[in-house]
Amino acid sequence: MTYRFRDLLALEPLSADELTFILDQAKPFQEIQRHPLKKLATLRGKTVVLAFFENSTRTRLSFATAASRLGADTMNLQAEASSLKKGETLLDTANNLNAMRPDCFVMRHASSGAADFVARHLEIPVVNAGDGTHEHPSQGLLDALTIRDRLGNLNNLNVTILGDISHSRVARSNIHLLGKFGCRFTLCGPAMWVPRELEKIGPAGTPIRCVYRVEEALEDADVIIVLRVQTERLHEPSLSQNDYILLYQLNTERMKLAKPGALILHPGPINRGIEITPEVADGPQSAVLEQVTNGVATRMAILYLLMVGATEGAHPALEAKPEVTPKESAHASD
């Protein structure tokens, strides 16, 4: 099997076999994380652009580490220090970076569909490192890798996602990936963050239910994905921070409702004491640091698949277009 796309823009168009193939390709790179010498020469002489139009620390460093361990060089663009502030459009910025002849374009942007838009204009592979509320494919893949390592396989799991689902590209990528393996989803959070329309976002036939009591959501869960609460989105009178903690925080007591051995994931960064208690975040069921280690291996696999021999016989981008069209004028992170 080969990876048939030129880019990695979303997990939605990928089949279960293709997703399994990418996860399998991450395995040799997991081994390399354990080597005393972690640096390969596989992508020597190649350059990866890391264009983060929206701020990120973990994902950017993870891609930078992945590129470096494969022997590639990186070019960094960060929102706060870029010409975006001077009014350059997204396309102009992408074209200018591309004119420096990189071999791969990794980008994050606050607008859904931005990576897809750039991919239509560039001839090099584009990796979506998060676009608005659309998808975050490398996070979806590293979460699946972590689940598969801990629980043995991805088939028919009960997956509970807690928090602000409506704004979460991580939740969407998780659902598009795990849904293809027959997983059932329970989405839970305050009603403003868990609208009923979310029940239709998965692959056809995926059971997704929205519930508003955390006790109900945790019952029989195999995997619990806790999302970061963006405290700026919590405000009175709708919901105070204390109310959120009282109603939705994942704590030791509530964990007893899930299956014994249920796995806890969090895409980070964690708000300790808000969406999750320190005891649960640091407990034996939590895999948050494994997610970070697996993130480097997953991103090495993605860069390897897109950049090795990618020039011949690769298809143009076939990825499904997101519904939201990006504004062509770039804007600083929001």
């Binding site: 390709q25 640096k39 020039t311």
Partner: protein, 182 residues
């Protein structure tokens, strides 16, 4: 272009006898099996290394550790191999520091695979000694690399291909010489 089989170079019995001899030679030259380990290069070096280790058990009564190495990431011709060369796992569960390692592969040709394998090995540590054991040496080297333990040396032309077919992978057991004809 067609591929035609020209001749059989080794039968199943000959492969077995050759591996027995190679096992004896490795034990003899290493002065025993202490600190010795075999590393099979994917794919066909892996069953060969396992068979040599089995033969060594009969000689010294000692279990020689066997690791496997996937060299895809270390190749210098990766972009020419295929649109995507599928990666397999390497599996070396013992420390390689101060070990006496024998790389095992089916055919020694340009030497580039062995160059890649050594780069891979040295990312894992610093072995005391690395030697090379191959079932067939067919010449045409492009690197300053030689095997210390050779099953058989065969003169070949550039268009010919040597196919080592092993029961574990190919469900038959023989070595054949094939040729590309236009």
């Amino acid at each position: 272009m067609r591929i035609v089989e020209k001749s059989q170079l080794m039968s199943a019995a000959e492969i077995d006898r050759t591996l027995q001899r190679l096992a004896h030679q490795i034990v003899e030259k290493s002065g025993g099996t202490k600190s010795l380990a075999l590393i099979g290069i994917r794919r066909r070096g892996v069953p060969l290394a396992q068979r040599i280790a089995r033969a060594m058990r009969g000689i010294d009564g000692v279990e020689v550790p066997v690791g496997t190495l996937d060299i895809t990431l270390y190749r210098d011709d990766l972009s020419k191999v295929a649109p995507q060369a599928v990666l397999q796992s390497s599996d070396i569960s013992f420390g390689v520091d101060s070990m006496d390692l024998v790389l095992v592969d089916d055919v020694l040709y340009t030497g580039r695979t062995i160059r890649a394998a050594m780069n891979g090995l040295f990312d894992l540590g610093r072995p005391k000694r690395v030697s090379l054991c191959v079932l067939i040496d067919r010449g045409h080297r492009e690197m300053p690399i030689e095997a210390q333990f050779v099953g058989r040396t065969i003169q070949t032309s550039d268009t010919e291909i040597i196919e080592v077919r092993l029961a574990e992978i190919d469900h038959e057991e023989r070595v054949v010489l094939v040729d590309r004809v236009d």
